[in-house]
Assembly symmetry: C2
């Protein structure tokens, strides 16, 4: 059986995929993969995801250059979640220019942005 058949894709044909920094251990991103995205990720060792908003496959960093080089691909006990251990090119995983997407922390009853913007998104995306 194809290893891709072991994954329990949801009704939309997707599975959530966590990317974790190999060096710092930080959880960088949670994105979504379809079968093609996971296949390409395994083949190229560069993280590929399915954009639900844009309705298309994308390679992480295709515009920004902030690619994720994949060291390890894991699947959970229920086979419905993927974990990538990655080397994050440029040290910036988030489209806001921060190290990682999980930069809002709950303090009391409010979310606070607790990580700095390292690079202006306009400079990253050339907009």
């Amino acid at each position: 059986m194809d290893w891709l058949d072991s994954v329990l894709w949801n009704d939309a044909g997707l599975v959530p995929a966590i990317a974790q920094d190999r060096v710092s251990g930080e959880v960088l991103t949670l994105a979504w993969m379809n079968r093609d995205a996971l296949a390409r990720t395994a083949q190229t060792r560069l993280a590929h995801y399915w954009s639900r908003s844009r309705g298309r496959l994308w390679q992480k960093g295709e515009q920004s250059g902030h690619v994720q080089r994949v060291q390890e691909i894991r699947l959970d006990c229920d086979s419905d979640a993927v974990l990538l251990v990655v080397e994050q090119e440029g040290g910036i995983a988030c489209h806001t220019g921060r190290r990682r997407c999980f930069f809002q922390r709950l303090d009391g009853d409010a979310w606070r942005a607790v990580e700095p913007v390292l690079k202006d998104p306009k400079a990253i995306y050339g907009k």
Copy 2:
């Protein structure tokens, strides 16, 4: 505005929630939360999730005793994914008796279980 209103719940009223071990940095689990689960998690500092298979709220460890004590709650840039930094009671997060749920690693074209069972699930759940 209520901090819970900032979360972008999906069509089923859920958001994926990653639990990461505070000490080892390991990604332990990916589960789902509804609004009530996140509220209770923040209030009690014990991880609560929504079980999609059982259709009910549950406290992680309610049966096994393997509770997750929550040190930090984070939200990502799109406000549609949660990260919990936790202390994992008993050092076992997975219902299979392993440290964590992400124990299947892709080796070539096959998933291999690469983490040992620390405790027989029958002993954990008393079945």
